[in-house]
């Protein structure tokens, strides 16, 4: 009954399909403006939501990407989003902008790599691969850095939580998707990303009750993250 209310206030009325979508050149400008303004990747869906009705942000993105090829800033894909980033070869100019990256422990780096290459992966599986228990602090740190997050629960006894990497992880390491992780194909071909059950009891891998250590991990905050 109040359809006129649906129209975004302040827009010059492009919300109606009565109006033609802006020209592709104009759409490219819009995508350029939105991506420049944002430090975070912006998804195609979000672009579409912000641009006038009938726009085709995917096509505008393709044009824009071409336009910025070889320039000082580039259009990069990050997961399901797009972002502008400076060209890596110009990093030397940016020492002023450089952020002191926290020195990660070996345990944290390895845990991160295991999550990235094996995701979704449970804590027990990480421990099985490293042959040592994963401290809560390591996981907490990676979550705090927004490089990993909780994934779906594994549908096995104990329903352990899994971990996956985030868009921020992809962004930080300049990856379009987790499929672009260096050496991923080779590792998979070599069978090194398999989770092979150990024959008989192996020490340090909790083989008798593989999901058991998750029991503790499950209680508390992880409950919050069920999808």
């Amino acid at each position: 009954m109040s359809d006129e209310m649906e129209q975004p206030e302040g827009s010059e009325g492009p919300g109606e399909s009565l109006f033609d979508a802006p020209s592709m050149g104009e759409q490219e400008r819009m995508v350029e403006a939105v991506l420049f303004a944002s430090a975070e990747p912006v998804s195609v869906a979000e672009l579409a939501a912000r641009m006038p009705h009938g726009s085709d942000p995917a096509e505008a993105l393709a044009h824009l990407r071409k336009r910025y090829e070889g320039r000082g800033v580039r259009l990069v894909r990050v997961g399901d989003g797009w972002a502008m980033r400076t060209a890596p070869d110009l990093g030397f100019l940016m020492h002023k902008e450089s952020v002191e990256t926290r020195k990660l422990s070996r345990a944290a780096i390895e845990t991160l790599a295991i999550i990235a290459y094996h995701q979704p992966v449970t804590r027990a599986e990480i421990e099985e691969i490293r042959g040592v228990s994963v401290s809560r602090g390591t996981i907490d740190l990676l979550i705090e850095m927004e490089w990993i997050r909780f994934g779906r629960r594994r549908m096995t006894p104990g329903r352990p939580v899994t971990f996956v990497v985030t868009q921020e992880f992809l962004d930080h390491f300049g990856l379009e998707s987790a499929r672009d992780l260096p050496g991923l194909k080779e590792l998979r071909a070599a069978g090194l990303l398999e989770s092979r059950p150990p024959p008989g009891a192996m020490p340090g891998s909790g083989t008798e009750e593989p999901e058991e250590p998750e029991e503790e991990a499950r209680e508390g905050q992880s409950e919050l993250f069920e999808e």
Partner: protein
């Protein structure tokens, strides 16, 4: 100590130093698998071709040495040692008929797989960390423009809601429970409204009680409520700079007058 020296006679000096370095560094290892991986490097072969038997022996020798040096090893190192000793016996002795569980070869293969997988993950981690990284090699927009989030909250209410609400209020009186009786309640807003109108005439110090309206002075409940409301209202007015308040001593009458100026 003599025993240690005797033991290490068999080893060359460099080997001994290497072994000791390993032991001194035991805290630096991320568990027994990590130690095994480090030991395996001395074999200088592809991890796929590693001699698990030799590795098991190296590990057991290491544990033995650590014991002689009275270095406390975490339990999982000892558990691994026990398992490797078992593996070693399986690999060396022909399987007995009726033996259950996996063969020595299966166990060895799995250990080799674990080591290879761990090494692969180490390598992957190193490659990952060596990538161009945001905030070091490439950068996001330094001055992002804040997207003004206009969150429009649209409240919903239908005519029916409105009518029901009104009906609810009007029928409330019919069943008004005793506790809800507001007859004896004066709100601060009422008092304030009233006092605002009256304050223009309060040039001299006047007892606050004289401001209580007609009908609110005798009944104790009403008087109490009116007094509280008027007192609160007078504080509001004083805050607004419209009146002054004074009280000569504790429990003395509270008096107000219009602010000078």
């Amino acid at each position: 100590m003599a025993e240690d020296d005797f033991q290490s006679d068999a080893l060359s000096v460099s080997e001994r130093l290497a072994a000791e370095a390993l032991i001194v560094d035991v805290d630096g290892f991320e568990g027994p698998l990590d130690l095994l991986l480090t030991l395996s490097r001395t074999q200088k072969v592809d991890l796929r071709r590693i001699s698990v038997l030799q590795l098991a022996e190296q590990y057991l020798a290491f544990i033995e040495k650590a014991r002689h040096l009275r270095i406390e090893l975490a339990a999982d190192y000892l558990v691994m040692a026990a398992w490797l000793a078992f593996l070693k016996s399986r690999l060396l002795l022909p399987p007995e008929p009726g033996d259950e569980g996996p063969s020595g070869e299966e166990m060895a293969a799995h250990l080799a797989f674990q080591l290879e997988r761990l090494a692969a993950m180490r390598d992957a981690a190193a490659r990952l960390m060596a990538r161009d990284r945001k905030g070091r090699d490439f950068f996001a927009r330094g001055a992002p423009e804040t997207v003004t989030r206009k969150r429009e909250i649209r409240y919903q209410a239908t005519l029916l809601d409105l009518m029901q609400a009104y009906a609810r209020i009007r029928t409330k009186d019919e069943f008004r429970p005793f506790v809800m009786d507001r007859e004896a309640i004066m709100t601060m807003e009422q008092a304030l409204e009233r006092m605002r109108a009256l304050i223009g005439y309060a040039g001299e110090w006047t007892d606050l009680t004289s401001y209580l309206p007609e009908g609110w002075q005798s009944d104790p409940a009403r008087r109490r409520s009116a007094m509280a409301a008027n007192f609160a209202a007078s504080l509001e007015l004083a805050k607004a700079g419209l009146i002054e308040i004074e009280q000569q001593e504790t429990f003395a009458p509270i008096r107000i007058r219009k602010a000078r100026q």
